[in-house]
């Protein structure tokens, strides 16, 4: 769906669902997910439908992911950081699961 305009600069390594990924310093997490060609960043809590970023400016909340253990963070507003741990969200989380990673 997207391709790079140029090489990655000042690379930062983050982990998406445990898998190491490179991003340019200053990129948002949403950019990183789209560059990697991910088919979704979350499955909705209501029907489990897949979603990807839609507006990229913080309005639509479609790009929600879990970042460093905290769920429902806006990937389009969060800048990548070395060692960041991102998890895609699979529907509604179980209420009683120990959520601390």
């Amino acid at each position: 769906m997207f391709s790079d305009l140029g090489p990655i600069r000042d690379p930062v390594t983050l982990f998406v669902d445990g898998q190491a990924m490179s991003a340019s310093a200053g990129d948002s997490v949403a950019v990183c997910l789209l560059r990697a060609g991910m088919s979704y960043n979350r499955l909705t809590p209501v029907s489990g439908a897949p979603r990807l970023p839609y507006c990229m400016i913080g309005h639509c909340f479609e790009c929600l992911v879990e970042i460093d253990g905290i769920g429902n963070r806006q990937a389009c507003l969060t800048v990548v950081r070395e060692g960041m741990r991102v998890r895609r969200q699979a529907g509604a989380p179980p209420a009683l699961e120990g959520s601390v990673p």
């Binding site: 088919s39 990807l52 639509c60």
Partner: protein, 518 residues
């Protein structure tokens, strides 16, 4: 123990660091006023000048071709950003707080903010809302599928992600931004499979009578874009209707009607756009009075010419004076030039309210009028298209809660005949986006079903209008001691310790009042 009102943290708090917010901040700082600027993005510029500083510094071939494609209107923000930066160093007037979201604004000048895991309140003697616009919500079948994105989103990916669309790209909708993006993509070597415009030749004819001198340059620019697309061999259709995206786990094809004929095209990325509208999330939650802008089918805050809003809250909720002003595209869609011009007007009005100066100058007001003079032409040439007709029963309206127009119509018919009742019953507008994507459509459905007219009602906005982690709420700073009572588990009788230095009759009520945090 007497509790005083907290002191203001700055003369002015500005929400948003785009053209209008930066211009107002610089104007206020030049006059010696202290300013706090809160902005969601990591660097100044707003959406129009997004990531401009970094892109200007990039001497690589990829960086240079990106700058060339984004054009002079993008680079035009460099000077303002430099001036803003000059004032936002240590002790230089502007306290610039990037990556900060605002989740509450009150008419008295209190602003709730969140940065990472820290949250709190700041107070300005005056507050300027310069939070900008959003793309018009445009529900159509399949608009929630991965692979459907807005034109603004794709432009953001170019500016701040250095990603360009690939595969079979279809653009659909209307408005200057869609045409501009198509040209930028073409310059970067992306050839869209189709440019599907909802506007028609008849719209352009109708628009012609609104053409003023100030509109000639944008018109020439727009015709240039259309000409280049034609030369590049991009198929363009006008009068596109009833768009739909199809696919299982993402877009595989799009279908639409043009001239009475239904067409289907294979598609990997569908880019949609139906013009931009003021973002009313903050004004609505702040209790500012809104008005309905008929030709633009959107709400906008009701303000004076210098941006002063008025509170619609009942006196038992808020009786004091309203110190909130709205500027830029958040007040009235006009683009970067009009936003910068109005930023000056708003700043001059704020200076007058702070007993400094005479208010907006005639030159500043004239500049706003000049920059806005092209809008009637653009509004007529690019009327709402994808969102013009109300969605069919099967179409999702509320993306967060996955409610269709049919769900909402059924509830309205069964008696939920105001926005808050409809929200309470269906959860439409209760998801993470808090109604940003669905409220306008729900309000229009309600109006349609109840044959009401006038300004469609909004849901009552309540803080927090953006999610805050509980841990950040627990450590809120800047609380108003007059409005704060801290109760701890120890205050509950069954948990009170038997004895100890902290218990006993000397444990007075005032100890339970939280001190103002710093």
């Amino acid at each position: 123990m007497t509790l005083n009102a907290p002191l203001p943290d700055a003369d002015v708090v500005i929400v948003g660091c785009g053209p209008s917010g930066m211009m107002a901040a610089v104007t206020l700082a030049e006059a010696g006023r202290s300013v706090i600027v809160l902005d969601m993005q990591p660097c100044p510029g707003g959406q129009i000048f997004r990531n401009l500083e970094a892109n200007l510094c990039d001497a690589s071939p990829a960086g240079q071709s990106l700058l060339a494609a984004l054009g002079p209107a993008y680079r035009a923000g460099a000077d303002l950003i430099r001036r803003f930066r000059a004032f936002s160093g240590a002790c230089s007037g502007i306290d610039y707080r990037p990556q900060t979201t605002v989740w509450e604004v009150r008419p008295d000048g209190t602003v709730g903010w969140l940065q990472g895991m820290n949250a709190g309140y700041v107070r300005g003697r005056q507050v300027l809302l310069a939070h900008g616009a959003m793309e018009r919500p445009l529900p159509f079948p399949g608009w929630t599928l991965p692979g459907v994105m807005t034109a603004g989103a794709v432009q953001t990916l170019l500016k701040a992600g250095r990603l360009k669309p690939s595969g079979r790209v279809v653009l659909a909708g209307t408005g200057p931004l869609l045409l501009l993006l198509a040209n930028q993509l073409h310059q970067l070597g992306v050839k869209p499979a189709l440019m599907g415009r909802t506007d028609r030749f008849s719209d352009a004819v109708r628009a012609a009578r609104h053409l003023r001198l100030g509109g000639v340059l944008p018109l020439v620019k727009g015709l240039g874009w259309l000409g280049r697309l034609k030369l590049a061999g991009v198929e363009t259709v006008t009068g596109l209707e009833t768009l739909a995206a199809h696919g299982k786990d993402g877009v595989e094809s799009v279908s639409f009607t043009v001239g009475g004929k239904r067409r289907t095209l294979p598609c990997d990325l569908l880019i949609v756009h139906d013009g931009i509208v003021p973002a009313i999330d903050i004004p609505n939650a702040a209790g500012l009075r809104l008005q309905w802008d008929g030709p633009n089918a959107s709400w906008r805050p009701q303000t004076t010419v210098d941006g002063l809003g008025s509170s619609s809250l009942p006196p038992e909720l808020y009786a004091g004076p309203c110190v909130l002003r709205v500027t830029g595209d958040a007040r009235k869609i006009g683009g970067a030039e009009a936003a910068m011009a109005h930023g000056v007007v708003a700043a001059q009005a704020i200076l007058a309210a702070l007993d400094h100066g005479m208010g907006p100058s005639r030159a500043a007001l004239r500049a706003v009028g000049k920059a806005l003079s092209v809008r009637p032409f653009l509004d007529a040439a690019f009327p709402p298209g994808l969102a013009r007709a109300l969605p069919g029963d099967e179409t999702i309206v509320c993306r967060c809660e996955e409610l269709t127009a049919g769900d909402l119509r059924a509830k309205i018919r069964s008696g939920f005949r105001n926005m808050d009742a409809l929200r309470g019953e269906t959860r439409c507008g209760m998801g993470p986006c808090q109604g940003r994507s669905c409220m306008v459509t729900a309000a229009r459905l309600l109006e349609d079903e109840t044959s009401a007219a006038g300004c469609p009602p909004t849901c009552r906005g309540r803080p927090p209008i953006r999610p805050i982690p509980l841990g950040a709420v627990a450590r809120l700073s800047g609380l108003d001691p007059r409005a704060t009572i801290r109760l701890t588990l120890e205050d509950k009788p069954e948990n009170a310790p038997e004895s100890g230095p902290e218990s006993g009759p000397e444990h007075g009520a005032e100890d339970m009042v939280d001190a103002p945090a710093h």
